[in-house]
Symmetry: C2
DNA sequence: ATCATGTTTCAATCCTTTCTGAACGTACTA
DNA sequence: TAGTACGTTCAGAAAGGATTGAAACATGAT
């Protein structure tokens, strides 16, 4: 049985995941793996969190693609086991990178097109508003690029050091 | 008819809205209002964006609740008209504030409960991971609080200066 | 080769969110 | 008073996502 705090954390993490675009099952599983010192297997995940094996399998796969959990093997056991990525920043960065490229960059591009090609009047309220917005976006972009640059470097280091391999 | 750039911006903004939890219609309407120098009315919104009057009415109401658009009246006209909030930062802040309080704060609380009450072993990998995560969250929290503090002040200023009222 | 064990896939189902459109309310006009 | 213009609401329809469960697949042991 799981402690009060553990379930609370799992459910909260689940809600939070929904917020940033990871579905509830995936986020709950992620929390569960994070909370386990020892590697966990598919059946344990499905059983403890009360979700289907199919769903658990797909979610674990996706979490691996995000690089936030890793598959490990235990000798003498045929099952796959999973452990959480020890670098907790990694998950947040991963999500930020994908999000930025998929959602933010196109919006910034559309905004710039608008400013250069839509023939807005320079003095108008719309122009001022859009120009302000573009400035905000650019600033955010610069901050992100800097952060992601650091992450890319540190991720390479981490891969070299930990040697986690599926 | 709308220019290429305008529609592109509207649709992109629509997708982006989905990302941060505003639904597509609302975000599209918001973009449309932002792009119009002159106040727009409900029927124009519904007609141009090809959504039902019911949806447009509800979305405009919600956007007003967020404070990102305002209702204005034009003398001699019975219709309600809408204009965009001129402070473009406001929308981003509004969303950030609500999001933070609704989603982030509970997660941080659950994390802290976990660290203090779940009896995790100090030396364990789980403890280290969770402690790191808590540090990251706290840092983010401090940054947000600072930013939101500034926003609160600037918002009061803005209200005094602009005098927009529904 | 067959069984036992474990994993993956995907069509069907379920659930949640969003959207529509008709009905209603209100206020103005003739 | 009836008619018109406009805004709002909400039950149900539609769309979109998440989840299940069973079948297919893979691998190792006997």
């Amino acid at each position: 049985m799981m402690s009060e705090e553990h379930s609370l954390f799992i459910e909260t993490w689940g809600s939070m995941g929904v917020l940033w675009g990871i579905n509830r099952s995936m986020a709950r599983i992620h929390a569960f793996v994070m909370l386990n010192e020892d590697p966990v297997d598919l059946d344990t995940v499905a059983g403890e969190l009360d979700i289907s094996r199919g769903n658990a399998s797909m979610s674990l796969k996706e979490l691996r693609n995000w690089g936030v959990i890793h598959r490990v093997h235990i000798s003498g056991d045929r099952r796959d086991f999973y452990v959480a990525e020890p670098d907790t920043w990694r998950m947040l960065f991963k999500i930020a990178i994908v999000r930025k490229e998929r959602e933010f960059n196109p919006a910034m591009q559309a905004l710039r097109d608008l400013l250069t090609n839509a023939g807005l009047e320079k003095g108008s309220g719309v122009y001022t508003r859009m120009n302000d917005l573009e400035k905000s976006f650019s600033k955010f972009d610069r901050i992100m690029k800097k952060a992601l640059g650091n992450e890319r470097r540190s991720r390479m280091m981490l891969d070299l050091l930990t040697g986690f391999r599926d």
